[in-house]
């Protein structure tokens, strides 16, 4: 009998230790690693063209395949993070202008925070909106590219209702430049990708060096974007690795856009920060308008580099 009581007592003690270990583990998870910041009302959408026809100026098939693979990887990071309510990878055939516009409406109406990544090309166009004084408008290639209908700046802005597209990363030429920020007229007609996606033109030009706290961050390129397939020069990394690592780190708990840029630059370039890496300091790309005379290009971070993609309670919507 005494033996049984002792045994029962021992088991009771062990059970208490089990409860303690479970408690400790749950406390650790509350404080801890990435992937635990589930929140309401966030969306992440990937768009991308299939058109990489020309090897020199459009990237060719290798670039197209790298774009597909990197977008798949980025999608996987968001899916694994389980922190977003709506995640779609529309890279390829699903990148159709109407689908882009309807998704903008859907996200504006249903989510407090929307992040967008686009990979492709840029082109100028004109609009037929009555009274438009902007002159040239700007577009993104849809799935079919040059031969088909484009995704047009002001048609994106037409779908804005709540202004909750807070993070937009366009891996395409030109739209990070100061002269491409754009404008929004009093009647809501817009020009420029930054103005149209972010519903504002009032963002700090260097959100990496001096974050403006606006809760809006727009990343794109000044002059030509760099190919995913271009090597960084360190280990075997290319710029596709930079893009995917950026999103990987941006989804760590408590990490900001700037943190992710730094960590991705460090890993892929062996530069101690994004500020030291050639994406920030300038890199050379072949210029179709001046053959033999490469153009100096930059990745530009507009607005709030301290924005977090993993939304915690303090960030709200």
């Amino acid at each position: 009998m005494k033996k049984n009581v002792a045994l029962a007592l021992l088991c009771l003690l062990l059970s208490v230790s089990l409860i303690f270990s479970i408690l400790i583990l749950s406390i650790d998870n509350e404080n801890g690693s990435h992937g635990d910041g589930k929140n309401e009302g966030s969306a992440f959408i990937i768009w991308g063209t299939l058109d990489y026809t020309d090897e020199t100026y459009m990237g060719g098939e290798k670039e197209r395949n790298a774009s597909r693979d990197v977008c798949d990887t980025i999608y996987g990071f968001f899916a694994d993070a389980r922190a977003y309510d709506y995640i779609e990878n529309f890279w390829g055939n699903d990148t159709q202008p109407d689908q882009v516009y309807s998704n903008v409406s859907y996200c504006e109406e249903n989510f407090n925070f929307t992040a967008v990544f686009y990979k492709g090309h840029s082109l100028g166009t004109h609009c037929d909106v009555e009274g438009c004084t902007f002159g040239e408008h700007w577009t993104l290639y849809a799935a079919g590219g040059y031969e088909e209908e484009y995704i047009v700046d002001y048609l994106i802005h037409d779908r804005m209702s709540s202004g909750t597209h807070d993070f937009v990363f366009l891996w395409t030429c030109g739209y990070g430049a100061e002269d491409k920020v754009g404008e929004i007229a009093e009647n809501g007609h817009s020009v420029g990708m930054l103005a149209s996606w972010m519903d504002t033109t009032d963002l700090e030009a260097d959100g990496y060096a001096s974050s403006d706290g606006s809760n809006h961050c727009f990343i794109s390129f000044d002059v030509y974007s760099i190919w995913f397939t271009n090597k960084t020069g360190y280990a075997d990394f290319d710029y596709g690795d930079f893009a995917s690592l950026f999103f990987k780190y941006a989804l760590y708990d408590g990490w900001t856009v700037n943190d992710a840029l730094d960590a991705a630059a460090e890993e892929t370039h062996w530069q101690s920060s994004f500020g030291d890496c050639q994406l920030y300091t300038g890199y050379l790309m072949a210029d179709p308008y001046n053959p033999g005379q490469p153009a100096l290009c930059y990745m530009r971070v507009w607005g709030d580099g301290n924005l977090k993609l993993l939304r915690g309670e303090e960030e709200g919507g």
């Binding site: 059970s15 230790s17 270990s21 479970i22 690693s33 990435h34 360190y234 460090e266 920060s273 500020g275």
Partner: protein, 214 residues
């Protein structure tokens, strides 16, 4: 009697599982104490007065990336907060060694044990002296001596024996990158960046340097 025995067996089984959980948790604690080494680095090398801050550890992850050939990479972030200063610290440990640390000053002036020099050459020299003491690595002596051979206020490159020093100065920061080479092949090195007269970032890839295949 029979019921008590069964109950005991189940509880013993549960207890064994609990011990397994405890083992797993032990692994996490080990990672966390590795990460704490960053705070030692900040105190001993950067001269940051860590005791003045409330320290919070944020997203931290242990991975084994392909490019490191099976070596561990511990990546993480600390937030350091005092009444007058807020600092974010990012870090990566590779192969068990602190290989990257970045200190982003978000608010106020940092609390230092020794106030940083206003002279950039002194800043780099003191950083390297401290880092040499911290790592007990006498090789860093020759790295430090190379500073005397360059103008630290403009872009330049200087090679002595198997070490190449590159100084990069731009509007954002001043960077110093020492690379070791063997028969023209990059074998890793040390770099440090200062911004607005304060430590910004540091890297040391000598313990795991990967091969560049391009």
């Amino acid at each position: 009697m029979r019921l008590t025995k069964r109950l005991c067996s189940i509880l013993v089984l549960v207890a064994v599982l609990a011990l397994c959980f405890a083992q797993l948790y032990g692994g996490c604690v080990e990672e966390s104490s590795d990460a704490d080494e960053v705070l030692v680095f900040l105190e001993e090398v950067v001269s940051l007065d860590v005791a003045e801050y409330d320290v919070t550890q944020l997203g931290t992850s242990l991975t084994y990336p392909d490019w490191l050939g099976g070596l561990a990479q511990l990546t993480g972030k600390y937030k350091l907060e005092s009444k007058t200063s807020t600092i974010d610290v990012l870090f990566k440990f590779r192969n068990g060694t602190l290989s990257w640390c970045l200190m982003r000053i978000l608010e106020g002036a940092p609390h230092y044990i020794n106030a940083p020099s206003v002279n950039i050459r002194d800043l780099v020299t003191i950083f390297l002296q401290n880092y040499q003491e911290y790592t007990e690595d006498s090789e860093l002596e020759s790295v430090r001596n190379m500073l005397d051979l360059v103008d630290v206020t403009e872009n330049s490159t200087k090679t002595v024996d198997n070490i190449e020093l590159t100084v990069s100065v731009n509007l954002f920061s001043s960077s110093f990158d020492w690379r070791y080479t063997l028969n023209g092949v990059d074998c890793g090195g040390v770099d440090v960046t200062f911004r607005n007269g304060q430590f910004y970032a540091f890297g040391d890839d000598r313990s795991y340097h990967p091969t560049t295949t391009q």
